[in-house]
C-alpha cells in the first residue's frame, strides 16, 4: 500500500512563531536581493575591460585561500590527534578552551600580535639580534597573510577535529589496543573514518573565511601584489569611486562564495558549525602511543601550534602593557571610539541573537510539523555567501540615491555586523533547539506546557548557555569588525578597530600595541560577560 500523506497532528501545529519567523526570513531575503540588485545595476555601466586584471585577482585570492586552508589543516590534524592522546598525560586538553580565543579575536589585534612576534622589530628578531644574528626580513607579504590565516583557522579546525575524535566509542580504541594495531593502521582504520566526514565541510568553511579575508590582507599584504577581491572592491569604492568596477568585483565574489556555500551545504548538511567538543574521557593507552617517535611527533605538533597561536597573544599582552598605554589614554578619540564600538557591538550582538532565536524557533516548529523550512535556511545561507564587503557595497549603492550614507554610518555598521554574525548565532541556537524539541515535545504536550509558558519556563532556561554564547560570539565579532566600518567610517565616525588600523598605518607601533591590548581586553570581557551571565541565569538556585 502506498504511504499516505499524514495530516499535521493537531498538537504539532506551529504557533505564531512560524509566521513571524517566515516574515523575518522574507525580509532578510528581500534585503539581500535588493543589495545584489543594486550591484547588478551599477556593474552594467562603466567602461568594459579590466577583465584580465579582475581574473588575476580572483585567481590569486583563490590561491591564497587554498594554501591557507591546507596549511591550517596540516597543522590542526596532528595537533588534534596529539591533544586527544595526550589529554591526560600531558594535560594537552587545556589547548581546547584556549583555542577559542583566536575565533573572537579582532583581526586588527591579531595583526599587531603577529607583527610583534615575527616583524622586523618583533620578539624573534630581538632574540636573533641578541645572538648577533640578522633580524628577520619585513613580515609583509603572502607569508604573513598565510601565517595570519593559519593563526585564525587552525584553532577552529582543531576544535572540530578533536570533537570528531572524541566521538569514537571507547570500545573501538580498546579493541585496537588489543589487536596491537600499528600507529598507521590505527589512524587508517579508527581515526580516519571519524575524521573523514567532517573534513570536506571544514575545508569549504575555512576556504570561504580565507577567500573573504579583508583586514588581514590590508594590514599584512604589504602592497598591491598581495590582494583579494574584497580589498579590490574596497579600493574601487573608497579610493577610485569606480562603482561599476566595485559592482563587477562584488558580483564575482558573490558567485564564487555562493558556489562554496552550496558545496558546503551539500557536504555537511546543516551541521557546518556543529563544533562543540564533548568532554574528553580517558583514552586507553595504545601500543605505539608511548614510542619515542610518536611522542616526538606529538610534542613537535603541540609546540608548533603553541608558537603560531599563542606567541602573538603573549606579544599583545607584553607590548601593550607599557608607557604607551598612558599615551593613548590621553586621546579623546579613544573614548569616543570605545563608546561607539561598544554601543554597536551590544546592539548588533543582541539583535543577531534575537533574530536568530526567532528564526531557529520557527524552523524547529515548522520542521516538526512537516512544513517547508527552505525559506528560513536560504535566508541564513545567503548571508554566509554575501561577504561583509559585498553586503556593505550593495547597501552603499542602494542607499546612496536616497540618503547620505556617511550620516547613516552608525546604523549601517550595526545592521551590517548583525547580518554577518547572524549565520553563526543561528547555527549555535538551531542545533540546540532541535535537540530540545526532540527531548521535550511529547512531555510538554502531555503536560499542557505550551506557547509563552513553555518558552519561559522550559525552553529559555534550557538554552540559556547557547543564548549567552551566541550573544557573546556575535557581539565579539561585531566589536572586532573592520570590514564594514572601512566602507562607512570617517573622521566623525570611528570604531576601535578602525582607530587601531589608522594608528598602525601611521607606523605608531607603540600606540598600536596599547590599543590592541585595550581592544582585546574589551572583546574578551564582552564575550565572557555574555557567556557567564547566561550561565548564571540558566543555573538553578539550589535550596
Amino acid at each position: 500500500m502506498a504511504a499516505r500523506a499524514q495530516p499535521i497532528a493537531l498538537w504539532r501545529r506551529p504557533g505564531p512563531i512560524s509566521p513571524v519567523g517566515l516574515g523575518i526570513a522574507i525580509g532578510l531575503l528581500a534585503l539581500a536581493l535588493a543589495a545584489i540588485g543594486a550591484l547588478v545595476s551599477v556593474a552594467g555601466h562603466g567602461p568594459a575591460g579590466g577583465g584580465g586584471n579582475i581574473l588575476r585577482v580572483a585567481a590569486f585570492t583563490a590561491m591564497q585561500a587554498s594554501l591557507s586552508t591546507l596549511l591550517a589543516l596540516a597543522l590542526a590534524l596532528p595537533v588534534a590527534r596529539a591533544c586527544w592522546r595526550r589529554a591526560a598525560t600531558w594535560r594537552a586538553g587545556w589547548l581546547l578552551p584556549f583555542s577559542f580565543l583566536p575565533v573572537v579575536m579582532p583581526t586588527t589585534v591579531a595583526a599587531t600580535g603577529l607583527i610583534g612576534v615575527w616583524g622586523q622589530r618583533g620578539f624573534v628578531s630581538d632574540y636573533l639580534a641578541l645572538l648577533g644574528l640578522d633580524r628577520l626580513p619585513p613580515i609583509y607579504g603572502l607569508g604573513a597573510v598565510l601565517l595570519a590565516h593559519v593563526f585564525f583557522n587552525a584553532p577552529l579546525m582543531l576544535r572540530v577535529l578533536n570533537g570528531a575524535l572524541t566521538s569514537v566509542p571507547a570500545s573501538q580504541w580498546r579493541l585496537s589496543a588489543q589487536w596491537g594495531l600499528s600507529e598507521w593502521e590505527r589512524f587508517r582504520q579508527i581515526e580516519w573514518p571519524a575524521l573523514r566526514p567532517v573534513i570536506p565541510g571544514l575545508l569549504a568553511l575555512v576556504f570561504l573565511l580565507c577567500f573573504t579575508s579583508f583586514s588581514l590582507i590590508l594590514m599584512l599584504g604589504g602592497g598591491p601584489a598581495v590582494t583579494t577581491l574584497e580589498v579590490n572592491i574596497y579600493t574601487a569604492l573608497r579610493f577610485d569611486f569606480d562603482l561599476a568596477l566595485a559592482g563587477k568585483l562584488a558580483l564575482l565574489q558573490l558567485v564564487i562564495c555562493g558556489a562554496v556555500v552550496v558545496l558546503l551545504t551539500r557536504l555537511t548538511g546543516r551541521s557546518w558549525a556543529a563544533a562543540t567538543p564533548r568532554p574528553t574521557h580517558g583514552v586507553p593507552h595504545q601500543k605505539g602511543d608511548t614510542s619515542t617517535f610518536c611522542r616526538t611527533v606529538d610534542a613537535l605538533a603541540l609546540a608548533l601550534f603553541i608558537i603560531i597561536t599563542m606567541l602573538p597573544v603573549i606579544a599583545i599582552l607584553v607590548r601593550g602593557l607599557g608607557p604607551y598605554l598612558i599615551v593613548v589614554s590621553e586621546w579623546p578619540a579613544l573614548y569616543r571610539a570605545t563608546v561607539t564600538s561598544l554601543v554597536i557591538a551590544l546592539s548588533s550582538g543582541s539583535l543577531a541573537t534575537m533574530i536568530a532565536l526567532v528564526l531557529a524557533s520557527a524552523r524547529t516548529r515548522r520542521s516538526d510539523a512537516g512544513l517547508a523550512v527552505w525559506p528560513l535556511d536560504l535566508s541564513i545561507s545567503l548571508y554566509l555567501a554575501v561577504s561583509a564587503i559585498v553586503l556593505g557595497t550593495g547597501l552603499f549603492i542602494l542607499l546612496r540615491q536616497v540618503a547620505d550614507v556617511f550620516l547613516l554610518a552608525p546604523l549601517l555598521v550595526t545592521v551590517g555586523n548583525m547580518l554577518i554574525a547572524l549565520p553563526f548565532a543561528y547555527r549555535v541556537l538551531e542545533g540546540r533547539l532541535a535537540a530540545l524539541a526532540t527531548a521535550h515535545d511529547r512531555l510538554c504536550a502531555g503536560l499542557g506546557l505550551r506557547g509563552w509558558r513553555r518558552l519561559r519556563r522550559v525552553t529559555l532556561p534550557a538554552i540559556a548557555p547557547e543564548l549567552g554564547f551566541a550573544a557573546g560570539l556575535s557581539s565579539a565579532l561585531s566589536l572586532g569588525d573592520m570590514t564594514i566600518v572601512a566602507l562607512f567610517g570617517s573622521q566623525q565616525f570611528q570604531t576601535l578597530p578602525w582607530l587601531l588600523y589608522q594608528t598602525m598605518a601611521r607606523y605608531r607601533a607603540g600606540e598600536a600595541a596599547a590599543l590592541s591590548l585595550w581592544l582585546l581586553t574589551l572583546t574578551f570581557l564582552l564575550f565572557m560577560g555574555f557567556t557567564l551571565a547566561a550561565r548564571m541565569l540558566g543555573r538553578r538556585r539550589h535550596a
Binding site: 511529547r442 512531555l443 502531555g446 519556563r457 532556561p461 534550557a462 538553578r540 539550589h542
Partner: protein
C-alpha cells in the same frame, strides 16, 4: 470507565493496528507482546500523540478522540526523560499543575508517599533513575487525570525498586480511582500486580 472502541491506526507503509477494550476506574491493565506489535502506539493514540483512522476514545461516556494531548484526561510517564534537566524535582512537579495551587505540604506529602522525601530541591541529574521515575509519578498523582499511561516506565529499575513503585501505583489507582495502562516486557510485573493482561500479537 475508559472505552477504546474499535480503534484503528495505520503506519506510513501500511502496517495496521486495531484495539478494542474497556477499562474500569481503579483497574490496572498490563499490555504485553513482542516488539513492533503496537504497544507504545496504543498509548500514543490514547494520549493524542498519534491520530487514529477510525473508532473512538471515551472516558465515562464523554469522547476525547478529537482533543489535543493537553486537554485529554490523561497523564503519561515515559520510559525515561520525564523530567526537565534544568528544573528541580519540586519544580518538575509543580510546572505541570497548570494554575492549580497546591500547598507545599501536599507536594511534600506526595514525595513522602513515594518514598523520595528530601529530594525536592535536587536536580534530576543528582538522583537515580528509579528516583526520577518516582518524581514523574508524584507529578502524575498531583495532576490528577483519571487515565495514567506508563510506557515501560519501570523497566530499567531493579526488581526490589520496581516492586516499591508498583506498590505505590496500586495504592494510587485504588484511592484515586485511576485507570492505569502499563506497557511491560516482564511477565513478573503483571503477576505481582495481579492485574488483567492485554496480549497483543501480529
Amino acid at each position: 470507565m475508559l472505552e477504546v472502541d474499535r480503534l484503528s491506526f495505520e503506519r506510513p507503509g501500511g502496517l495496521a493496528f486495531h484495539y478494542d477494550f474497556t477499562l474500569a476506574a481503579g483497574e490496572i491493565l498490563a499490555v504485553q507482546g513482542p516488539s513492533g506489535v503496537g504497544k507504545t502506539t496504543l498509548l500514543d493514540l490514547i494520549a493524542g500523540f498519534e491520530s487514529h483512522l477510525t473508532g473512538r476514545l471515551a472516558w465515562d461516556g464523554i469522547e476525547f478522540s478529537t482533543l489535543p494531548p493537553w486537554e485529554r484526561p490523561v497523564t503519561t510517564v515515559f520510559q525515561s526523560d520525564n523530567l526537565f534537566a534544568h528544573l528541580s524535582c519540586r519544580e518538575n512537579v509543580t510546572i505541570a499543575l497548570d494554575g492549580a495551587t497546591f500547598a507545599a505540604t501536599e507536594v511534600d506529602g506526595a514525595f513522602a508517599r513515594l518514598d523520595i522525601d528530601g529530594l525536592q530541591a535536587r536536580l534530576p541529574e543528582e538522583i537515580s533513575g528509579g528516583q526520577q521515575q518516582r518524581v514523574a509519578l508524584v507529578r502524575a498523582l498531583l495532576r490528577d487525570r483519571p487515565i495514567l499511561l506508563l510506557d515501560e516506565s519501570f523497566s530499567a529499575l531493579d526488581w526490589p525498586t520496581r516492586r516499591g513503585c508498583f506498590d505505590a501505583l496500586q495504592e494510587i489507582a485504588t484511592t484515586r480511582r485511576m485507570a492505569v495502562i502499563f506497557v511491560s516486557h516482564d511477565e513478573r510485573d503483571a503477576a505481582y500486580l495481579e492485574c488483567d493482561v492485554l496480549k497483543l500479537d501480529r
